[in-house]
Symmetry: C2
Subunit: 243 residues, 2 copies
């Protein structure tokens, strides 16, 4: 079946969520890296837990709540200005360097984002990085009031483009998202941005098991959820070669 649409996850796939580390370090010297990692872990947890609890709040709220949790857990005092400055960065995340050219090379197929982000967050992000000129759609799960990897979230692709699941290539660096998309029936390319081998080696070499390495490692190895992606790629630039 030919691929009619290529749909991308946003956070961690097109946009580098690690790029908040600079501003968190600036706002909280010595804590930039740990804030970045714990914030992301709790952001995802809260998205999943709110979905399960049937207490959906959009990703902007979840992102604020998880940052508040992180700062509180670390015992860091802060004022509103510092908090807002860190949050604001989520609307100005760095685009991965190969994203624009990879998306352009996938035309004339339909190109879209399907993200847990709220419509406002995603709108700002694609405008701020000029990705809106390449995208046929920027789809937020907010329309379904449930977060990925719930199947209702992935249904939005077909509802937007009129495509069957097997006519879509879904691209994500997030293992749980790749598993969820595959479970739904999409073709899936998983971007393995950091080699698990390197991570494991780093753990073995450091008797303390360096925490930041660990926090990243538990997000960068394929999950054991019963669904394996169709393609493993190392960067977005490999995608034109597999459609």
């Amino acid at each position: 079946m030919p691929i009619k649409a290529v749909v991308f996850d946003a956070y961690g796939t097109l946009y580098d969520i690690q790029s908040v580390a600079e501003i968190t370090e600036d706002a909280f010297p010595g804590y930039g890296e740990i804030i970045t990692q714990v914030w992301r872990i709790k952001q995802l947890e809260y998205a999943w837990l709110r979905s399960l609890m049937r207490r959906y709040q959009d990703f902007a709220a979840v992102t604020r709540d998880s940052l508040a949790y992180t700062l509180r857990m670390l015992g860091l005092a802060y004022d509103n200005a510092a908090f807002e400055r860190v949050i604001e960065k989520y609307l100005h995340l760095d685009l991965y360097p190969d994203a624009t050219s990879a998306l352009a090379a996938l035309k004339p197929r339909k190109i879209a984002i399907l993200s847990n982000g709220s419509p406002d967050m995603l709108g700002a992000l694609v405008r701020n990085t000029a990705l809106d000129r390449l995208l046929d759609a920027t789809i937020s799960v907010d329309a379904k009031k449930v977060f990925k990897p719930a199947p209702q979230a992935y249904e939005l692709i077909g509802e937007t483009f009129g495509t069957a699941p097997n006519e879509v290539l879904f691209v994500s660096s997030n293992p749980w998202d790749a598993a969820g998309a595959k479970s739904f029936g999409l073709n899936v390319a998983w971007i393995e941005r950091v080699t698990p081998e390197a991570m494991a080696l780093a753990c073995v070499e450091n008797e303390l098991v360096a925490p930041l390495t660990m926090f990243r490692a538990i997000r960068t190895q394929m999950d054991e959820l019963g669904f394996a992606p169709d393609h493993h790629v190392r960067s977005l630039s490999e995608l034109p070669g597999i459609v």
Copy 2:
């Protein structure tokens, strides 16, 4: 409204999940602590993700999958015997020392467990610790094929005892479980087993931010999910005083 039933979470609340650290250390020297922490993080993640994906498998399967993930991530080779020896410990977790006397003191109210554990896991656990003699019911979410904190899981209490939510005190050390139970409408006591102050201090004092401390800390502070527990207690022995 008088409390007619006191219902306990199992893992981390009545049973010490950290008690697997000895056997993981014995099976994988130098890795006992890190296996214990990552295993638990992924065990919960997989329970939530499978619920969201509508791909329920029971907690025994989730516990095996998350251990396999953990060992693979750490680059640890293992044989079936080592794997089974570690898994087996989940049927023989240590009961917290004050559990038996606290449960006995709560009679003649109905006393139960409501757990994400599978019926087989829970059955073995309560028999192995003689808790079956005190419990009026051992309730597994397996009957609903969805994990806590989904509201369907908490519905099982009323279906078992004929109680209204406000006639039940639900007890958990897991912040997400306390939030889920409160969102459902139960009275909730959260057992704060480790002080967040101590955790925060440990982080500040160690420039590397000791990873094991961090892994535990992100499980032992109340979550920002919009639902606060009614009671904060430090140990099970405080419970007779609040019902």
